[in-house]
Symmetry: C2
Subunit: 309 residues, 2 copies
């Protein structure tokens, strides 16, 4: 029997799992911290793969999900926001040289889309938009049955679109991006701004409330926290209407920590989407749903990519 | 020898051409007015095809470019803005029943993208964005070597994206769309608004200057006309930066009457694009160019589609 190895690299943890040729239950898996003062992250990753290397099964390929920007076609991590030493790292080459099996690399948000498409909430759809809303906003798109990559694989940066000419500055440095107004960071920045203006809120005892604090306050009825989620929902609905016009998908899948706010986010989001869509035909056979794979999405996306080898 | 028939339906004219199995020089072609008080447009179209039907060659397929919204997969024109009687018209069926050969239908802007990709400025590219900027703004996208369609073929409406929450109202009824600020109509509306405010301009003698009037005035140095093109260029650059992040194309092709303003539009467009792009990697190997096929683009797009049959 053959096997596939899936690797999910994050700023905090590296996970590796061995999967059988079919099915999504891992034969074995393990996670370790990404950073260690005695060893660099890429060596830790290589050693963890070696550690889990199956004795019986032949490894048919290795799929790797890593934070972007990265060039999946060249197998290069250009810059990993939370792994400072990874700059133009030839990650695919490194792994291939050590283990001598085919290796494929993908951006974590793109592979999350692929994972949800092949194994999760998006099964059976040919046109799918995946948005992960957490500290930032990442995206992945399946269009007409293909993972959208673009010439170097930099496509589908769905959080990095300007939806107002002069909005708040995004983590990427640009003004008015969706991420800057509707990510956890964007929501928190808005609340901090309003608190500084003296808006009354149960959050005023916190110097720097996080998106999690804001969610908790909103669930307890705090008006500023509720308004902040509503504002984010509005912008998300506006951006998703744009994406309906651009991609005409049959499903939108929303993941990431901020979606745990539930209806306080989803109600304004769906209302804004319905209001902003330019024709009813874009809502024909169109579902909005939550991601189904939880924190397995990175590994399963990497598995999905490896199985395409 | 086999032949293909290409049909380009516009609000004013219907063009039909017969093409050989290879190459893009038509064997014969003809155009007629779309509207006639004694005959409906679809009968005129069918008769024109019959009129040009080749005596020698076997017709292998018919490709039709028509104004949208239309459903290419079902072969239905949902609504044609300038042909009021075409509502949910089963155009593919009509043609197929009469001539008994395979027929394919496509949205005119999508097929323009396909035409430029196969025969024009976009040859050899796998990731291409086409924008036609005239009365409205239409779009077409080739991603990873496929024409982007979406579940019903309503995708790639690149002019109908909100780039500001409360901008001018678009022809589609939605606020803040790119089309509302950067199409010929959007440019003219801006100038009319400024004239009403008393902004001095050589255009003040015209009650309702058109985009063409504004272009002429701008070429002669009129400051309001120049400012109007600059503003449109700015918004186009902002939207195109978004499309670089969404599609990571290797070429952007710009067509449509408004692009005849040349550098007065392109300079601010390129400056805004360079300023708004979030990383230099999106500009690697990325060309911006003008459409190459002129008014043949509809027929050649329809030909390209028919040859995929």
């Amino acid at each position: 029997m053959g096997a596939y190895i899936a690797v999910d690299v994050g700023g905090t943890q590296i996970r590796v799992a061995v999967f059988p040729q079919e099915g999504i239950e891992p034969l074995s898996q393990k996670k370790i911290l990404t950073q260690d003062k005695n060893e660099n992250p890429e060596d830790r990753l290589l050693d963890l793969i070696a550690d889990l290397w199956p004795a019986q099964e032949q490894v048919l390929g290795i799929g790797v999900a890593a934070p972007g920007p990265l060039n999946p076609k060249a197998g290069v991590v250009i810059k990993a926001p939370n792994i400072p030493s990874w700059i133009n790292l030839q990650l695919t080459d490194l792994i291939q040289k050590r283990f001598n099996v085919p290796v494929v690399l993908g951006n974590d948000a793109n592979l999350a889309a692929l994972g949800e498409w092949k194994f999760g909430a998006g099964r059976g759809h040919e046109n799918l938009i995946y948005l992960t809303i957490s500290t930032g906003i990442g995206g992945g798109v399946i269009c007409d049955g293909h993972l959208l990559l673009g010439q170097y694989g930099f496509a589908a940066e769905l959080g990095h679109v300007a939806i107002m000419p002069d909005g708040p500055i995004c983590s990427c440095g640009q003004p008015g991006h969706l991420e800057a107004v509707a990510s956890g960071t964007g929501i928190a920045n808005y609340v901090i701004e309003q608190l500084a203006k003296g808006t009354p809120s149960s959050l005023s005892n916190k110097v720097l409330p996080t998106a999690k604090d804001i969610n908790l306050a909103a669930q307890k009825g705090d008006p500023l926290a509720i308004a902040a989620l509503e504002r984010a929902g509005n912008f998300l609905g506006m951006a998703l209407a744009n994406y309906l016009h651009i991609f005409n998908p049959s499903i939108i899948i929303l993941g990431g920590g901020v979606t745990q706010s539930g209806d306080l986010l989803f109600k304004p989001l769906k209302a804004a989407l319905a209001e902003r869509v330019m024709g009813p035909e874009y809502l024909w056979n169109m579902t909005i749903t939550s991601a189904a794979l939880g924190d397995r999405v990175g590994l399963l996306g990497a598995l999905g990519l490896a199985r395409e080898l």
